[in-house]
């Protein structure tokens, strides 16, 4: 946990404070009281509280949670399901895992409340198999909750029965998308299907299904206990409460933070994150996971919320936040993320399956120094095609890293394709190692370490590097004691 100034703990309120394997400790901190309270209310009243709190989905979409519950409630069906999305596929994100490991009961309690509100008697937690500790803790928690009568038949002696089972995900990013997640739970191919029908109408096994994210659930008990008014007093006009971020990259303090909506990026990076490492210059911050956008200096004072992030060309996503400094090449950054989306595209729809691959290939060409200005046009064009036409959220957002870096760092792209230079000095193919003849004493050390014999010269005479042979391994640069070798 990063430094505690400017932070408010709602979702993470119990993490680190209780023994997650002991239900009594959870109960001692007001655990399951919200469920008890909810069962004294009508489902409509509970939903109304959630609606008034302004809570929006923390899984990335930001859909109003109360409204989603209401929609699921309104569909008539004998069997309904409540699902917890614990797939957390964003590389580097671990807020959901932390909640499940540190406070599993809060999710169980919230799911039961959700079941009560929507009319579902069955809950399913879709959790990635790579989270063994979280799975273990959930199993223990479910066992204890059943023992205490907090799951099972006639909870709190009321006419309400609810139980929870675990379902395991195989780790595909797109399986976090709710329709893909449902298909995966059904044993079908984990790929998204068109909406409508939305899961609230026809989800798991065709039954109305309410899918919410782990962090979304973690907010529910608090809202019911402290009141929607209290919750709604935190945050911005359209985004209430707090958000957990996984702060990473070139900042001094990395880790999970929970800040009120409306906190600025500057506060997060410089106050909580303690500024950029090694005194380097801040260059960009990527929010929203692999398909979020890169924001710059000019965005630092924007209050973080769902809508502002989208307006700036990025998104909230599930809360990834990666800080970059002057040494990061933005073309390479875009390529890095594209590599991820190409890997993770399910391949169902043409723009995402083909388009991202082509985007990646073009970025690769550019970082190889073989790009042209026409490639930049293609990047932008393709990016928009993919964004406008893809079937699911993955494709609709996957070009964000390219489009936002092009928007904010166009010169850097131009440098790659026009001057064939990488200003950050990251694209190897675009670098040349050059020996300064004035500084070179002709010690022959470099020539001896060069693995491809690219360096020639008489002893005691300045050496030269044959650029057509050099593979840019940097060995000579490291070896030279006289600082005679520089990178261009």
């Amino acid at each position: 946990m990063a430094k505690d100034k400017k932070q408010i703990r709602i979702a993470l309120r119990n993490c680190g404070f209780i023994n997650p394997e002991n239900i009594d400790e959870y109960i001692a901190r007001d655990g399951y009281q919200a469920l008890g309270k909810a069962l004294e209310m009508t489902p409509e009243e509970v939903i109304d509280e959630i609606k008034k709190s302004g809570l929006r989905g923390r899984g990335g979409g930001g859909f109003p949670t109360g409204l989603k519950w209401e929609l699921t409630r309104k569909v008539e069906a004998e069997q309904k399901y409540v699902v917890c999305n614990a797939d957390e596929g964003d590389p580097g994100a671990f807020m959901d895992r932390s909640i499940l490991e540190g406070d599993p009961h809060t999710v169980l309690e919230a799911m039961a409340i959700n079941g009560y509100c929507t009319g579902a008697s069955k809950g399913l937690i879709y959790i990635r198999a790579e989270y063994p500790l979280a799975i273990e803790r959930l199993k223990i928690a479910i066992g204890q909750a059943r023992e205490y009568g907090l799951l099972g038949d006639k909870i709190f002696g009321k006419d309400f029965s609810f139980d929870i089972e675990l379902r395991y995900g195989a780790g595909a990013f797109v399986c976090g998308e709710e329709t893909a997640l449902i298909h995966s739970m059904e044993g079908l191919r984990g790929e998204p299907t068109v909406k409508p029908p939305f899961p609230s109408e026809s989800g798991y096994k065709g039954a109305p299904t309410n899918v919410n994210n782990v962090e979304t659930y973690a907010n529910i008990p608090v809202i019911l206990l402290k009141g929607s008014g209290w919750f709604a007093s935190i945050g911005t006009e359209k985004s209430k409460g707090t958000k957990v971020f996984a702060l990473a990259g070139k900042v001094n303090n990395v880790g999970l933070i929970e800040v009120p909506m409306g906190t600025t990026l500057r506060e997060v990076i410089f106050d909580i994150g303690g500024g950029i490492k090694s005194g380097k210059k801040f260059k960009a911050v990527q929010t929203g996971g692999p398909s979020g956008g890169c924001l710059t200096e000019k965005h630092l004072d924007i209050p973080i919320d769902y809508d502002n992030l989208i307006a700036s060309g990025s998104m909230m996503g599930s809360g990834g936040m990666i800080v970059m400094d002057e040494d990061d090449c933005m073309v390479s950054v875009a390529k890095f993320y594209l590599d991820f989306t190409v890997e993770e595209s399910c391949g169902k729809c043409a723009p995402c399956r083909l388009g991202n691959k082509r985007l990646y290939e073009i970025l690769d060409t550019i970082t190889q120094g073989k790009g042209t200005e026409d490639d930049l046009f293609k990047l932008r064009n393709l990016g928009n095609v993919i964004k406008d036409t893809s079937l699911c959220g993955l494709g609709q957002t996957s070009p964000n890293p390219v489009l936002s870096t092009m928007e904010n760092f166009y010169d850097e792209y131009l440098a790659h394709v026009k001057d064939h230079k990488c200003p950050a000095g990251q694209c190897k193919a675009l670098m040349s190692y050059i020996i300064n003849p004035d500084a070179c004493v002709g010690c022959t050390l470099c020539a001896r370490v060069c693995p491809v014999d690219a360096i020639s010269g008489e002893k005691k005479m300045p050496h030269v590097i044959d650029q057509s042979i050099c593979i840019k391994c940097g060995a000579c640069f490291e070896k030279c004691k006289f600082g005679a070798i520089f990178i261009e």
């Binding site: 191919r189 890997e343 993770e344 043409a350 388009g355 082509r358």
Partner: protein, 900 residues
Amino acid sequence: MKTIYINNNKYNFEGEPTILEVVREKAGDIIPVICHHNTLEPHGSCRICSVDVALQKDGPRKVMASCHTPASDGMHIFTDSERVVKLRKNIAELVLSDYPEDKTEAAKNKLPTEFQRLLERLGVYKTRYNAKETHTDQEKDTLHPYIKSDLSQCIRCYRCVRACDEIQGKFILNIYGRGYDNRIIKDSDSSFTDSECVSCGACVQACPTGAIYDLYESKIQPYDKIVHTVCTYCGVGCNLEVRVKDGKIMGIEAPDDAEVNAAHTCIKGRYAFEFYNHPDRLTTPLIKKNGRQVPVSWDEAYDHIANKLNKIKEQYGPDAIGGISSSRCTNEENYLMQKFMRAVVGTNNIDGCARVCHAPTAYGMQKAFGTGAATNSITDLEHTDCILVIGANPTSAHPVTGSKIKQQAMKGKTLIVIDPVKTELAEIADYHLQLRPGTNIALLNMFAYYLIKNDLLDHEFIKNRTTGFEEFKEQILKVNIDEYERITTVDKHLVEKAAEAFAKAGNAMSFHGLGVTEHYTGSRTVMLLANISMFTGNIGRKGVGVNPLRGQNNVQGAADMGVQPHQGAGYLDVNDPEIQKYYKEKYGIETIPEKEGLKIPEMFDGAINKTVKAMWIMGEDVMQTDPNTQHVRKALEGLDFLVVQELFPTETSKMADVVLPAASFFEKEGTFTNGERRIQKVNKVVEPIEGTKADGQIMVDIMNRMGYPQKGYSADVLLREIADVVPFFAGVTWENLGTNGLQWPVTKDGKDTKILHSKEFKIGKGQIHFFDFEETPELIDNRDKYPFILTTGRNLEHYNSGTMTRRTPNKDVLTEDNLWINPADAKKKGIKTGDRVRLISARGETYIKAFVTDKVKEGVLRSTFHFPEVSINNLTGDIGDIETLTPEYKVVAVDVVAGG
């Protein structure tokens, strides 16, 4: 009423269509698509159909895929805004970035594929997005006789996968891998040949590129015309679109809008057409002279026939002559055949192959309901909640209907299968009541017992619409249910549960096949089946009823036309004086035969004891398909005179005194009536090959030759005559049949009937009958010596004796008959899969290859009968249905011995 604006034009619409559907309806085909197909669920994978959408006038526009986005009230749709036009082109270019460069335009002398037409429509032939990595070097899969793939051309629209899932229900095609490297595989990455593919061709028809194609490259063959006709291979009655060029068939597809079979056929309908110009076709009349059949002219043949028949008639009377008509022929031809026998020869000795299949259905259902035909339509499957399949293996014998049943079962509708064999449907059924062959009566009585005992009845229906219930109830409550359990070998609790599921379903529908009828107690089983539907009130509305799966394509029609010895055209009793008068008037003749004629087995018996002297067989290979081959041979040898009309030389035609070369269904016009009473047009696809004539023309010629003035063979003219004679055809004309046909009864004003008995039965009240179980004499007499029960069935790939299908590449798909035997029996007998084994019955023996499987229970064997090498009918006996004499093909006492 909702409003939508399409390119600023205002339209009203109703219901919940997608944007694409509304736009197509209101403004025509202005949105290009490629992954979408009308016969498949929306998928949304190609995004070519993207349109700009604003939720209100001048509101912000968003790109949406029109094929799956619902149209909503007040939407403004822009189908060709600059943005969407550009987006579509870009997507097409992306697709081309991983597509063979030389396949963007039609191949030489071929028509363009759907994808090539799309490229042309979008004006895109090249891509700006050059790929570093492509998938255009996939290995072709060309080993299967019909279905082939060149997946280098695959554009990942997944139509093939969806066609196999949603239309055929076989789940052969899958997507393997993810993202950019995903690809289409067959089963777990095998080939069409090694997969469980049933060669229905639905995937071929669905594929918009050349990635999955067939032997004939059906979809890209240039053609002079496309002729709409009806399949000749089974009672489903699939509509076919046949491509013809220079008088030759180039390929067959299923119409996308056919009510019977939208975009679907089975292997036979789509691919088994090459028999039509096979060199084996008979092309000249033959007369047997000095023991050899020699070619003669038509005139000589006709004269010879007329002379002979007249002589026999003079000498022995008309009843010494018998006729067998064909369910493969058209209604018009069947009508003519029976009219020839009755009005020209002067005998009621006319019968058809329904005798060997569905005569008990006609009889039993007439007894129960008054009408011997399916009560409902196949489309009703969409409205039913529970499907009972008894004695039928529709996924093989009625494949298109079989698929529909399977689809519904997979959607969660209750499926009950009563069958001794674990059929494909039984495998997915909620209840499989795997009874011992020959015990249908016992099982249905158990079913009825639980309906009554557990009060799962529709009392209202029973009271108002049936008679005989109280008597039935009294009898059934007396039966010994444990004894039935022992006889059927089916757990009574399972039957109880199935009965409950059937009764509690809102709508329950039954289907039955030859496993019901081809038994000693076939007709009675049909009546008991009718009972079950009446007890539960499942008659007279959508999604219910009793529905026979008709064997041959026109069994229904042949019976309708009067091809049976006791009823003339329109099921009117021949021994009723009023009716005799009616027919005399209609046919314009002075005398008409008055007593019921002979059924097929009786004709054969007559031939053997010399009371029957001459027979005329139209398109039936009785030597192959009728039971007890030795007996049939003796009968035919005993005749003085035998005329056979055929396409190919057959075992039967070889014995004929006169052979007349007939034309196939591709070469003539007329109508077929499918198993749901649907009268459909058969159009002439190609001219008859030289030397042949339509069976109907032959009948007309001979009628005239024998002095009866019958107008020339034309479907139009004959239908008018039939409409005048057959009451339930009253409103049928060639013109008003349209492409989807009409379901009889068709009233004078041309209205047809989807559902029978909705208000009352033709005979007033439904008749409830009780029959107790009776063991077939076949087993009583023979089981000591022949302890196994052999039951026969059909495979998907072949049609009956295979005269047609074995003359097509279907022979390479399925090459031989085999015998299923339970592993325990096989072990006892020392038999392994692939062994040749000897099968012996009280009549004869044959050799066949064994296939060890638990799809049959111990003591039961199952085989097909498509190949003459294995003449299963050497084994079958003379026992027939008590009421109709339909032979008991489904129960033969045999023994099996290892080693051939």
